[in-house]
C-alpha cells in the first residue's frame, strides 16, 4: 500500500478517525493492528520478519539491561545484531554476494554456485531493522531503558507512517510519544492541519514532480550511449531532483500522516540542495539515516577523535556502508565512496581553499559566494547520483564519459531536448512545479519552517487556497492512472 495509492487514501482516514474516537487504552493496540495490516498489504508473510526483528530486539534489550557483566551484555547485543543483520543480509545482500563470489570463481575457472533461493526483498526491511538496532544500542549504552511493554515496543518498530521508508526514528523521540498515547490527548487541530498540508505537499513532490521528471531521467539514462554533455548533465541534475522529490515527498507524507495523529517524527530533509558543502548536504539529506550512521557507526569507530588519517578512514567506512545500505550493487558502493571522497577531499583541501580565497581576496560573506558554494555542492552531488541511478558500473562509466567528452551545446536550441520523455507542455508543467518547490525550500532554508508550519501561520483564506491548489495539481497533473493520449485515437469519427 503506497502512500500515493487509492488504498492509502481510504486506509489512512479510516485508521485516523477510529484512532481519534476509541478509548485511550485501545489506541496503541489499534495503531499496531493498523501498522501490521499496512505492512501485510504488500505480502502477508513479511509480517513474520518484522515480528522476528521485534521479538529479537525486544528480548535482547531486556537481557542487555538485566545482565550485569559488560562482556555478556556485549555478546547479547552482538547476538541481537547478528540475528537482525543476518536476516537483512539474507534478503538484501545474499544474491549480490553470491554474484560476486561467482565472478571470482569464474575468473579462476571454478564451478559457480547456483542460488538455491528465490528471494524477494521485503519492503522497508532496512528501515525497521536499523530502527530496532538503534534502540538496542541505545539500551546497551544506557541512553534509554529497555521497553517492558511488548505491544508498545512492537508499535515502535512497526508504526506505519514511517515503517517502509523512514524516517528511521530514535528510541528517545518515538517511545516518549508512544508512552503518552494512553495518557493524554495527542491530536490537535493545529497539528492535524499541519500534517494534512505536509501530506499534500508530499503527494505534490512525488506525483507532480518526481514521477514527471522521471520520464526525462529514464529516457536520458536509457539512451546513455547516445547522449552528449548537455543531456548527461541535465539528466544527472534531473535525477538529483527526482530522488529528492521522490524520497522527500514520501518522507513528507510519513511525517504529515504521523502529525495528523499527534506524533512528531524527526525531519528527514531540510532543503538539501541549498547546501553549501557536502558536509552541509549530509546534515540536510536523509537526516534520520545520516545521523544513524553518525551515532552508531562513525562515532563508535572513533569519529574524528584520532589522527587525521584515522578520521578519513572512519569517514570512508561510514560512507561505503551507507552506500551499501541503499542497495546491493557496486553502483551504490561507488556512490557512497564518492561522497566519502568528497568529505575527505573537502577537509584535506581546506587550507588550500583558504589560501586561494585570501590570495584572490574573495569575499565570503556575500550572496554570490554562497551561490557558488550551493552550485558546486549541487554539481558534486548530481555527479555522484549518476552512479546511484546507473544500472551497472559499466553504464555509469559510459554516462560519465559522455558527460565529459561530447560537448553539444546546440541541443539547448534545437528543441531536441523535448524528445527525452517530456514534450514542451509537460516540461512547462515541470518548470512551474519546480518553481514552487524552490519557493517552499527557500522558506524552509531561510525561516526554518516546513510548508505545514509556514502555511499555518498565514490567514485561513490563503492557507485553504494553497491546499486546494495542491489537491487540484495532484489530481490533474499527478502522474498516475492510465496514461493515454486520447486525442490520438478518441476523436476519430466513429
Amino acid at each position: 500500500m503506497l502512500f500515493n495509492s487509492i488504498d492509502f487514501m481510504i486506509f489512512f482516514p479510516v485508521v485516523t478517525l477510529i484512532y481519534a474516537v476509541i478509548p485511550r487504552k485501545l489506541k496503541c493496540f489499534w495503531l499496531l493492528a493498523a501498522s501490521y495490516y499496512f505492512y501485510m498489504c504488500w505480502n502477508a508473510r513479511y509480517a513474520i520478519l518484522i515480528a522476528f526483528s521485534t521479538l529479537v530486539t525486544y528480548g535482547a534489550a531486556l537481557a542487555v539491561e538485566k545482565i550485569k557483566g559488560k562482556t555478556a551484555k556485549k555478546w547479547v547485543m552482538i547476538g541481537g545484531f547478528a540475528a537482525n543483520l543476518g536476516v537483512l543480509f539474507f534478503f538484501k545482500y545474499f544474491e549480490f554476494a553470491l554474484q560476486n563470489i561467482n565472478k571470482l570463481l569464474n575468473r579462476f575457472s571454478f564451478q559457480t554456485i547456483q542460488n538455491p533461493f528465490d528471494i524477494l526483498l521485503p519492503v522497508g526491511i532496512s528501515f525497521y531493522t536499523f530502527q530496532a538496532l538503534g534502540y538496542l544500542v541505545d539500551v546497551y549504552r544506557g541512553d534509554c531503558r529497555a521497553e517492558r511493554n511488548l505491544l508498545q515496543y512492537a508499535l515502535f518498530v512497526s508504526f506505519f507512517p514511517q515503517l517502509v521508508a523512514g524516517p528511521i526514528e530514535r528510541s528517545g523521540n518515538l517511545f516518549r510519544q508512544i508512552h503518552e498515547v494512553g495518557k493524554k490527548k495527542m491530536m490537535s487541530p493545529e497539528a492535524a492541519t499541519q500534517g494534512f498540508i505536509m501530506m499534500l505537499w508530499g503527494l505534490f513532490m512525488k506525483m507532480v514532480i518526481a514521477d514527471r521528471i522521471a520520464l526525462f531521467v529514464d529516457s536520458v539514462f536509457g539512451q546513455s550511449y547516445a547522449i552528449g554533455t548537455v543531456e548527461a548533465a541535465l539528466g544527472a541534475a534531473a535525477f538529483a531532483v527526482q530522488i529528492y522529490c521522490d524520497f522527500g515527498g514520501y518522507s513528507a507524507i510519513a511525517i504529515g500522516a504521523a502529525k495528523v495523529m499527534g506524533f512528531e517524527l524527526m525531519e528527514n530533509f531540510n532543503a538539501p540542495y541549498f547546501s553549501t558543502s557536502i558536509a552541509d548536504f549530509w546534515r540536510r539529506w536523509h537526516i534520520s539515516l545520516s545521523t544513524w550512521f553518525r551515532d552508531y557507526v562513525y562515532i563508535p569507530l572513533g569519529g574524528n577523535r584520532g589522527t587525521r588519517l584515522r578520521t578519513y578512514g572512519n569517514l570512508m567506512i561510514t560512507f561505503l556502508l551507507s552506500g551499501l545500505w541503499h542497495g546491493a550493487a557496486w553502483t551504490y558502493v561507488a556512490w557512497g565512496m564518492l561522497h566519502g571522497l568528497y568529505r575527505v577531499a573537502g577537509d584535506a583541501l581546506k587550507p588550500v581553499r583558504r589560501k586561494i580565497i585570501q590570495f584572490f581576496r574573495v569575499r565570503t560573506d556575500v550572496f554570490s559566494y554562497r551561490l557558488g558554494q550551493v552550485l558546486c555542492t549541487f554539481g558534486l552531488t548530481s555527479f555522484a547520483w549518476i552512479f546511484f541511478r546507473a544500472e551497472s558500473m559499466d553504464r555509469a562509466f559510459l554516462y560519465v564519459r559522455n558527460l565529459f567528452c561530447r560537448w553539444n551545446p546546440w541541443v539547448l536550441f534545437d528543441e531536441s531536448l523535448y524528445t527525452y520523455g517530456l514534450d514542451r507542455r509537460e516540461a512547462g508543467i515541470l518548470m512551474a512545479a519546480l518553481a514552487v518547490l524552490f519557493l517552499v525550500d527557500l522558506v524552509r532554508y531561510r525561516k526554518g519552517r516546513n510548508l505545514g508550519e509556514a502555511l499555518c501561520s498565514q490567514n485561513l483564506v490563503f492557507r485553504w487556497a494553497v491546499m486546494i491548489l495542491l489537491v487540484v495539481s495532484v489530481i490533474v497533473y499527478g502522474v498516475y492512472g492510465i496514461d493515454f493520449d486520447s486525442s490520438q485515437f478518441i476523436y476519430f469519427a466513429f
Binding site: 487509492i6 487541530p189 487540484v472 489530481i475 490533474v476 492512472g481 493515454f484 478518441i490 466513429f494
Partner: protein, 469 residues
Amino acid sequence: MKKSALFFVKCICFFSLLGLVVFVVYDVLKWKDTTGDYLSSVEQLYATEDDLIDVVFVGSSHCYCGVYPSVLWQQYGIAAFDMSVSSQDKNSSFHDLVELYKTQSPSVIFVDLHALTYDQHLVEANVYRNYLSLRTSPNSVALVNAYIDQEERGSFYLRFPIIHTRYRELKKYDFLQYPPNTFGRGESYISEKLGTSWADSAALNDRTVGELSDLNRQWLLDLIELAEEHGTAIEFMVLPYARSPFQQEIFNAAQEVLNELQYSYTDFNQLLDELGLDLANDYVDPEHMNAYGARKVSEYLGRTIAAEYDLPDHREDERYWQWDADCRWCENNGLSIWLSGVSNPVYYASGIKRYTDGITLVSLDGDYLDSETDYFEILKPLGMRYEEYLAGGKWIYRDGALEKIAENVMGAEEVYYDLGRYDTVKLTYVAPLSPENIMIGREPYQSASPLTFITYDAVLEKVVAQRAF
C-alpha cells in the same frame, strides 16, 4: 465555541469547498463525447425534459450515422431519439437503456444488433468513451462491473485516474457545453461520399446460419426483459453495411432466435433495392452511411413506425423544441457543407437566405464595377440597394435582412461586429482587397476577388463557409 467544534466546522467547510472545486475540475476534464468531436448522445439525453421520447434507437456508429430522428420529426412529428454511441457493446447498450428509462417512457425501442459481432472493444479508448460518459450512479457502477476487470474498476469508479490526462487536449467545449448537445437528438451529420460501391466486398446473400453464443443470446433476452419490464415494444435490426460472412452468419442466427421468440427483426442489407440505397454515394465508408443514406433508411423507419404504432404528432407541442432545433441543425449542416462547395454566386446568395442560423458577411471591394460579372444581380435578392452597391463596402446578412456595417474608405474608423459569444469580426480598410480588411479573430479573411461571402454559424460558433467570386 469549543476549539474542537470550531475545527470540525472548519473541516466541513474546507472539504465542501474542496469538493466543489474538484467537481468543477471534473466537469472540465470529463468525457463529453460519445459519437465524435464533442457530440454526445448521453449529454443530449441528460438535456432532455422527462417523458418526451417516444422512439429510441440504440446501437453503434452504424446507428447514429444511419438513423436521423430529424427525418422522423419532420415527416411524422415522431419524437425519436438515437441513443447510439461509438462501438456500443452489449453491456453499454443495456445500461444506456437503463439510464434512459430513468427519465423517459418510450413506446418502442429499436436495437441495432451490430454488438453481436464482438464481445470486447477493439479500441480501448471506446471503453472510456462509452463507460465514462454516464453520470455516476448505481447504473454506471453496474456497467463498469459488467465489463471491467476487478483490478481496473477503481480507476473507472473514480474516473480521475483515466480522465486527468485530458488536460493535454482541453478545448473550448471542455469549458462550455457544445451547443448541439443541448438539443441534438443523437444523429451525427456526415456528407462525405465513399465514391465506390462496397457490394463486392460484402456477404450480401449469405444465408448460412451461424451460432449465437450464450452471451449474445443472453443479451437479447436481457433487452427483451428490460423493455417488457417498462411496457415498451422492442424491435431488432441490422443497419445496411458491408459485412463479412462471419458477421452475416451471426445475424442470421439472431434472426432465427428472434423469430422463435416472435420479435421483429429487420436486416436492412436485404432491403437495399427497396430503399434505393446507392452504395457509392450514400456511404462515407463501407460501414457507415452518410446523410443521404441515412435519410433513406430513416424515411423507411418513419413509414414503418407510423404504420405500426399509434404515436402522437408532437410538432405543435412547445416542449418538443429540441426536435425543432435538431431539424434546423441538420438543415444548417447540410447547407453549410453545400455552401462551402458552391461555385455559383447566385446559388450561394439563395443558400444563405435559407440558412436560419447563419450570419453572412458580404464584402464588395476592388474593381467590381468594371467587371463583366453583374454583382448587383447577385446581391439584389438579399435586399441590396443600387446606391449601396455602387459605393461598395461590407454588409452583414442575418435573419433575412442586409445591414451595411462598413465603407471602403481608407483610414476609416475600425468597425467591430460580434458574430457570436467568442468571435468578433474587425473591419478596416488598409487597401483595396487587402487580406487584413476583414479579420475574424486573428485570421485575415478578405479574398482577392471583388465579392466575398463569409458565413458564420451562430449555433456552431464558427465560420462554416467562405467563397469568393
